[in-house]
Chain length 139, copies 4
């Protein structure tokens, strides 16, 4: 039976992303949303500014909305049609390296978004979170 | 006798657009609105992200509002007057290749909007939907 | 394998609800959303006013948001906390007899909403739609 | 030494609130914000609808904004001045029994908000979360 992206799994992914952020010494916000873009789990580490909250959440929402890595959406960031979409109340999409869909058993179950460091650092933490779910994405 | 864009016709157009999307192997959202921009028929195919819902609907609304193909509205996408118009609650117009008016017997009866692939793919599906209504638009 | 609320199933539920509405002779709008409240399928029958579009969609969104039949939410319709929630861009919840969650294999996969007749008529059509999915809810 | 509401403490409060919700058998969303109303920690349990996300977050934001328990703000819920305040982008305050400030060493460090059950159930979980921080509030 496929139990999808449970509370327990979302917490495990969050913890793994946090552990990676601690390892590289950069405070991060990590957000995990369900397939519909609604928040499942969130953590902000000591020293991460509150601007990172919205960025992490919006990157996760965007990857769920488009079923796509944020990196693939970058060509559209200045297109009006792209920005006319609200991924949450009033929030336009945010395409970033650290927004990655969570696909379990071939089904979109959610997405992760990370913010606080460079794009590469954020992505490394997102990848660590996904690895805890058995999902391996390229660097 | 002009019976306009009936439920049956809207469903037929939707089915034809879906068949085309299946043929080219790209999951799409297809929206058909009436002349007032209000939804008549909608379908989202397996694998199409939820961001496509709003795009397809907004493109159809925009073509109904301006009685014009979305492609012809592209010169205006950065104009303030264009964006000050709400085609639905808070939604500015969305000019896309796959927004096309539905004109039957010389009368604007609605519009179709499609989202999920490239502009050309979306438009091919919109055209297939219109062909089911006896409306033939150039590529 | 549980394939969830597929396009095909959503279309079948929509068709069954429409057939019921035709049988009782009342034009309806029928909306089916996924678990995140995002539109999957929609149809408006000939003679159904466009106000029914938003009602049907909002009732479905509300049942998905609260994982609850709209009828059970009626005690809250005048509560400010209830109305401060947006089930879609700017849209507060709409609790109605014809908003019913779609649960498949114990998992919330979406919801149906119907509008056009009396509460009892709308609900009869929603129930007919669900029956096509093997879901049987009391009158 | 006052180390404030650290990541570690926020996670501990979240875990304690979740444990209480599991004990009473009601799935909840739990949100913890900092003194500025910005999210620190969040968890949504299996079976909690996505409507609970916004409720939990808004109740926490409101308690941080007014440095006050939500229960004490209820007399103001119909006042225009109260509703003219945005505790987040466009979100008016949400006064609920389960919104409680987090005061450590006499300093407002944040707030907790819980949603998913009755007001009393939500509050029981919020109180359990605070107890993990050494904060004891009356039932």
């Amino acid at each position: 039976m496929d139990s999808g992206l449970t509370f327990e799994r979302a917490q495990a992914a969050l913890a793994a992303a946090v552990a990676k952020a601690q390892a590289i010494g950069v405070p991060m916000s990590i957000a995990i949303v369900d397939g519909g873009g609604h928040l499942l789990a969130f953590g902000r580490m000591d020293g991460a500014g509150w601007a990172t909250v919205k960025i992490a959440v919006a990157m996760a929402e965007t990857s769920a909305a488009f079923r796509s890595e944020g990196a693939r959406l970058k060509p559209f960031v200045n297109d009006r049609w792209f920005n006319s979409i609200e991924v949450a109340g009033g929030q336009p999409p945010l395409a970033g390296d650290a927004g990655i869909p969570i696909v379990l058993n071939g089904r979109l179950e959610g997405a992760i978004g990370v913010s606080g460091g460079s794009g590469a650092q954020d992505r490394a933490c997102a990848r660590a979170g996904l690895a805890a779910l058995g999902i391996h994405v390229p660097e």
